[in-house]
Amino acid sequence: MTSGDPWKPFQDIINDQWQEARRFKESAAGVVIGHLAPDVPEEILHASGAFPVSIEGASSAVSMAQAHIPGYTCSHVMGTLDLGLSGKLDIIDALVIPYVCDSTRNLSHLWKRLFPDKPSELLRLPKRLEFEGARDYLITEYRRLYEWACGLTGNLPDTERLAESLKLYEKSRALLRRAFLKHRSSPDVWTVTLLRSLFVSASRSDRSKHLEWMKALPWDCPENTESDLAAVYLKGKVWDPPQLSGIMDELGMCLAEDETAAGHRAVMVEGVTNGDPFEALADRSLATIPYTGYHVEPTGLVNGFLERVKKSQASGVILLNPKFCEAAAFDTPDFVNALKNESIPNLVLETSARSFSVGQLKLRLEAFREMLGMEM
């Protein structure tokens, strides 16, 4: 347990992404499996005996990847490749890439060719979420992932063990949900940056330890219903650039909702822990707000988003669009039109680690914040 600043363990992991993976490797000589967001069920990797760790390529600078993939590729994919090429992923033994778009599938091809000694698995997430066969296919994909991960760790697949991992992750998600509510009620103490540190570090830590650390947080701090922070709805792939949370705090913004792939969206749905764990995982995944690369009925997609925004009572919406992301950029104009029709202020930020300026980002957010101020 920690004494002193209860936020420190999380901040330490933000500062040193591999800290916990390294510890695991040194103490248990175990297998570290990296994965890319979104929607890779970490509990499956955990149950195999591996240490799952999320990789965020989006915010890395790119210097070597261009020799292998064209520059008109999103930062998430290019950054991941670059991390691999520059040796920054040496700690991982294997990689899981969720098939959410053409770029992730191509990354999988390139990874296999460029890193033949680091096994990778393309998790074939079904895209047609409203078709009933999607659930069955997802379940078989989860089973395949479990067998693959067990093949790496040398453990035998064991449904009981997976059920235990599922329970642990459900507990963690429940506390993260509570943390999000706490941010909403006490945003001046549970700032955006601190909240982010909990979510980001969760996918880089031993979940049991993370749970213990979270229990020590200031849950009893008073609510601040009078807060004059502007609550915004955030939608996008990842928090790219990472400086975004600090700027939001600085400008007096908090989160009405965080629909980023691995943000509050990823923990929002409470799953069941009894019954078949593969089925429970699939049901939870299918009940989660669909990631932009998936397909749902097109008008319902926009209306559903609008309803969620309204329900959140956000004063405005920020859409984080990774540059060169086809999946997100086709949705955006209709989302923006729907928001405009309801007079909900919105800001589209096209993000890329390669053409990013904190100063410019801040200017745009300042202007947006002023606009929200006028709305309030």
């Binding site: 292998h68 091809h109 390139l110 296999k112 079904p126 296919y137 086809e326």
Partner: protein, 398 residues
């Protein structure tokens, strides 16, 4: 060189097709937007009319209208980084500018993602725009192309479901005889198309990939009809005659090249002349070969489509490289021209490694040129020509 006469018919075939498309509703046919890798034979058997927005976009590109209509799409909020087919289609609707008088409004949108994920998102926009129902045939990518029995079940179940939904929508039962006949006609057109492609193996080649791009329209838009069969029969007869008479597509053929990726539609004529003047014949390409594998059996077409979507059109890295190596041998290639196409991330993101792998195996060099299938603002044709010239120079020096 003496032009291929049969290609002159393309204009007539295209005009008749779009006229029929615009008349479809008046003729009590439901209009279905779709992509090539969908079972259009079912649509014909239910008297529906398939329309291909990609095809429309390609025509916009070939007529050099892309910059103007793309700008309209960008004005709607669609980023310039998005596939230019999508931007051309959406921009054409917005600006009301189209070489085909636009497209008729859809009653249904049908798409498969064994091609790219972009198409699904683009068609979702159309679905909202026209309030049309949409059906996705979701095809998982098996990464290395290994058999995925569960995916086969998943895809086949969607095809069964599709048939039921189409019947429900049209209020009629699928006409078995018509279904089989359409499948037969598709298979025949696909076989003829393949024979036409194989003629490029002759030395010198009687047809280039540029001609094949022009000849593609019936294969893409009229598969399953007698029109496509008649057109390709005539074309093959003419090519065989030309070949027997020693007429080659390129005068003094010196270099036999492969074209990777989609064409650069606005530059077809210019690049064809440029290469022809240098004795360089584009004898084969991945894009034209894609239409050669569309035949399915009449006995169990659903299973055949399932396997085609999962394993043939799903562009796995290894099978792509193997394919190029085979083509290099069969067509006696001297070099590969790889079009790194900003619009089509799906085909292009692997291109650097595909080139490396193919050269490792065959020793045949390749050059990567960065351009765009439609959007002339995204490249400079002079730079492309310079790159190609340097490459030919390198081939010449051996």
């Amino acid at each position: 060189m003496e032009p291929i006469k049969s290609l002159k018919q393309i204009k007539k075939v295209t005009t008749e097709y779009f006229t029929a498309a615009h008349m479809a509703r008046q003729n009590n046919k439901k209009v279905v937007y779709c992509n090539v890798f969908t079972p259009v034979e079912m649509l014909y058997a239910l008297d529906m009319f398939p329309v291909y927005p990609e095809n429309h976009a390609a025509i916009v590109g070939a007529r050099k209208m892309a910059a103007e209509v793309s700008a309209a799409a960008e004005g709607m909020g669609y980023s310039m980084d998005l596939c230019s087919y999508a931007r051309c289609d959406l921009g054409s609707i917005k600006a009301g500018i189209s070489p085909t008088w636009g497209l008729p409004k859809p009653d249904l949108i049908l798409v498969s993602n064994c091609q790219c994920g972009t198409l699904t998102k683009w068609f979702e926009v159309l679905g909202r725009m026209y309030s049309a129902p949409m059906i996705l045939i979701d095809v998982p990518h098996s990464d290395d192309g290994a058999a995925d029995i569960e995916a086969e079940k998943y895809v086949r179940a969607q095809l069964v479901d599709l048939m039921g939904r189409l019947e429900e929508m049209t209020g009629r039962k699928l006409d078995e005889a018509m279904f089989k006949e359409t499948i037969r006609l598709s298979g025949e057109a696909s076989d003829l198309w393949t024979r036409m492609l194989e003629l490029g193996m002759k030395r010198p080649a009687p047809i280039t990939v540029f001609d094949q791009f022009i000849a593609m329209f019936p294969m893409v838009s009229q598969r399953g009809t007698q029109i496509a069969v008649d057109f390709y029969s005539g074309l093959i007869d003419e090519l065989e005659e030309r070949s027997a008479a020693g007429i080659s597509a390129v005068k003094n053929e010196k270099y036999r090249l492969f074209w990777d990726n989609l064409p650069i539609w606005p530059e077809l004529g210019r690049l064809s002349t440029f290469l022809g003047d240098r004795g360089a014949a584009l004898v084969t390409s991945i894009y034209t070969w894609a239409w050669s594998k569309l035949a399915v059996s009449q006995d169990d077409p659903l299973t055949d489509w399932t396997k085609q979507y999962l394993y043939t059109f799903n562009l796995h890295f290894k099978s792509r490289v193997d394919n190029y190596v085979d083509l290099a041998r069969n067509y006696q290639l001297d070099g590969f021209l790889y079009h790194s196409n900003r619009s089509c991330k799906w085909i292009s993101q692997d291109v650097q490694e595909v080139r490396a792998a193919v050269t490792e195996i065959t020793g045949i060099p390749g050059v990567i040129i960065e351009a765009d299938q439609n959007d002339t603002r995204q490249y400079s044709v002079e730079t492309l020509e310079k790159q190609i010239d340097n490459f030919l120079d390198m081939l010449r020096k051996g």
